[in-house]
């Protein structure tokens, strides 16, 4: 009996692990095929010269990386990416927070506004891009019509290197507001009402309550939204492809679009892989930094 018991225990533990793995297998399979394998394949390819099909031909070591750091177009796409991130992320969060604060008020018919503000979440990037393409259209678009009406000269929104990145960023802000708004509204609604009632009795005004109660209590949600938005901004592709195709003069050639062009238009799979690896490392580093620096100021309940 005393001998049989441990053996039985080992067997149960093994069969527990086996059935656990069985439950996990669909998820492991999907994760492995579509995430883990491509990741390692990309890292592998970034060290090889390939043919147009992406078949590795010869090992070149860090040559692709070395080339990138001296390539003007790579630095240009980094500049475009950073500019795009700085234009979209803060603006999206600030506007969405403002809308969420408005929509969190208890007013008659507020449900209509909540639906409207979150509506862009239900729109595909392609459809939204087409809408903005029309609005930016130099001759029939509403922006130039407006400029015309106030007597200003018209602007080539998507064709002028000075405005293209800004225009694409504005469209992106609009597209991302719905999701960010919804998450922030959810966060606001989770804040205990009695905290505000107590503050009302204490006599503090709206702005004090916003600064001293709402923002700290919302900080976990803001942190989450910040990270998600940042990662999203680094990975933007659809609206660039539809609105500007990286142009004019590479001013909107953000890194993901540059990777796409290198791999599928220029057939430089090795170079594209190297860029992808660098993007991955950059996002990893930024997210890690965010956790290190910002999370200390986040208040979790």
């Amino acid at each position: 009996m005393t001998v049989a018991l441990p053996r039985q225990r080992v067997r149960t533990r093994l069969s527990d692990a086996a059935s656990g793995l069985l439950y996990l297998s669909p998820s492991i399979a999907l994760f492995g095929i579509f995430l883990v394998y491509p990741l390692f394949r990309t890292i592998y390819l970034s060290f090889f010269q390939t043919d147009t099909q992406g078949t590795p031909l010869s090992y070149v070591g860090g040559e692709h990386y070395a080339k990138l750091f001296t390539s003007a177009s790579f630095w240009q796409s980094i500049q475009a990416t950073v500019g795009f991130v700085l234009l979209t992320v803060p603006l999206t969060i600030i506007i969405a927070l403002g809308l969420a604060l408005l929509a969190n008020e208890k007013l008659r018919g507020i449900g209509i506004f909540r639906t409207a503000f979150s509506a862009t979440m239900g729109m595909s990037v392609a459809a939204s891009s087409v809408i903005w393409m029309f609005m930016y259209n130099p001759s029939i678009g509403i922006f130039n019509r407006f400029l015309e009406a106030v007597g200003a000269s018209e602007v080539q929104w998507l064709l002028d290197p000075q405005y293209a990145l800004l225009s694409v960023s504005l469209a992106t802000v609009w597209m991302n507001i719905g999701f960010t708004f919804l998450i922030l509204l959810g966060g606001l609604q989770n804040i205990d009402r009695t905290l505000y009632e107590s503050a009302d009795i204490a006599g503090t005004n709206y702005w004090t309550q916003l600064r001293a109660i709402t923002i700290p209590m919302l900080s976990p949600t803001l942190f989450f939204v910040g990270i998600i938005s940042l990662i999203n901004a680094f990975q933007t592709f659809g609206q660039i492809d539809l609105l500007t195709k990286g142009g004019p003069t590479n001013s909107t050639n953000v890194i993901v679009y540059a990777i796409y062009k290198d791999a599928f238009i220029n057939y430089n799979v090795g170079g594209a892989s190297a860029q992808a690896v660098l993007l991955f490392l950059a996002v990893l580093l930024l997210t890690w930094l965010q956790f290190k620096l910002v999370e200390r100021k986040v208040h979790y309940q």
Binding site: D192, T194, L195, E197, S198, A199, D200, I201, A202, G203, T204, N205, A212, I213, P216, M217, H299, Q301
Partner: protein, 363 residues
């Protein structure tokens, strides 16, 4: 010290009336308890006094001045919430002083007041802690400190002890009462626990379904319940009630037991009410015999259950009684301690000696 006056206060959400006209004056410096079962509207009433809910109709006066449209901060009151409403991201000190700047106090004065309040409530060692690092009782004290630090003359409390365990609750009960006396606060205290109300209040109001059932000193509600609802809500265990019919010999329960309450009425049917502690072991006079259905010996007292006209009645005898189930006991009830309620459930006043003779002749 400030008094509070409610004149025909009503509250309705859309079409549903949840407070149906309340008239009461809460005297300055009084400990006033608002009691009732959950959903009776007691919290809504407190929130209307605080200014957190609008008043549908009627007038609220604070120290004689109409206060219906005053902001919560202009009503010179503080409030303790059921969940304490502490700011989880602020230290105890910040929690206590939050909002004091609106009263025009300098940082130094705020700190002094905070230390004073913390001293009163034994929180001095915890000022740098966050609420989540405190026990339930300590959080409760922070909420109390936050209420007294404003030095508002009126204090509102919404079930402040319901999240504490029984032992701590009893302790905090007496602490809150002492604090109220010391600071001469006008206190409005909402609770569903009639023991809290009975032990703490100068006067109490029992609400049910948005309507006032009775207002008075705790012992008035206990001794002379205005209706069967008050009778069954106040007291633990509550008053025994059973329907009775008038006969020539007296009032008879459906099982034939006869009672002679000291009350005169023209009603033919009524409800008889007797408190468990007023059913005593019979020495000479026997009011009724009862067959025991259950016995609970609690050390200081024994609770006896028996059947009375199809209703289970309880008797509370002091001391420990070695009785067994099925045993027949003889009980005595002083006729003066019997209450009668009419068919609407309202109390029928016992006859006064002189009036009684006059009516006897009249009959």
């Amino acid at each position: 010290m400030k008094s509070i006056q409610l004149q025909n206060i009503k509250k309705a959400y859309d079409e549903t009336e949840v407070i149906r006209g309340i008239d009461v004056t809460i005297e300055a410096g009084e400990f006033f308890a608002l009691v009732g079962p959950s959903g009776c509207g007691k919290s809504t009433m407190l929130r209307m006094i605080a200014g957190l809910e609008s008043i549908t109709s009627g007038t609220l006066r604070i120290d004689g001045v109409a206060a219906n449209d005053l902001k919560p901060s202009e009503r010179q009151l503080s409030m303790v919430f059921q969940n304490y409403a502490l700011y989880p991201h602020m230290t105890v000190e910040k929690n206590i002083t939050f909002g004091l700047h609106t009263k025009g106090l300098t940082k130094l004065e705020q700190r002094e007041r905070c230390l004073e309040a913390a001293e009163t409530l034994g929180l001095t060692d915890y000022l740098k802690r966050k609420p989540r690092e405190l026990s339930g009782g300590q959080r409760q004290r922070v909420a109390l400190a936050r209420a007294i630090v404003t030095e508002s003359p009126i204090c509102l409390m919404d079930e402040p002890l319901s999240n504490l365990d029984a032992k701590l609750r009893a302790k905090m009960r007496s602490e809150i009462r002492q604090l109220q006396r010391k600071l001469k606060l006008t206190m409005i205290y909402v609770t569903h626990d009639q023991v809290e109300a009975m032990t703490m209040a100068d006067r109490m109001m029992l609400l049910n379904d948005g309507e006032v059932q009775q207002v008075g000193q705790p012992l008035d509600l206990y001794n002379k319940p205005a209706n069967t609802f008050v009778a069954s809500f106040i007291g633990s265990p509550p008053m025994n009630l059973t329907p009775v019919q008038r006969t020539d010999n007296g009032w008879v329960a459906s099982d034939g037991r006869l009672f002679h309450p000291n009350t005169l009425t023209r009603e033919d049917t009524a409800t008889l009410g007797i408190r468990p502690e007023q059913i005593t072991p019979a020495n000479e006079d026997v009011t009724f015999y009862a067959e025991l259905k259950n016995i609970e010996v609690l050390g200081t007292e024994t609770i006896l259950a028996f059947d009375m006209g199809g209703v289970e009645w309880l008797a509370k005898w002091p001391g420990q009684w070695p009785l067994s189930i099925g045993e027949k006991i003889a009980c005595y009830v002083d006729p003066k301690q019997m209450s009668l309620f009419d068919t609407d459930g309202n109390r029928i006043e016992p006859r006064q000696p002189k009036l009684f003779e006059a009516l006897e002749v009249f009959q």
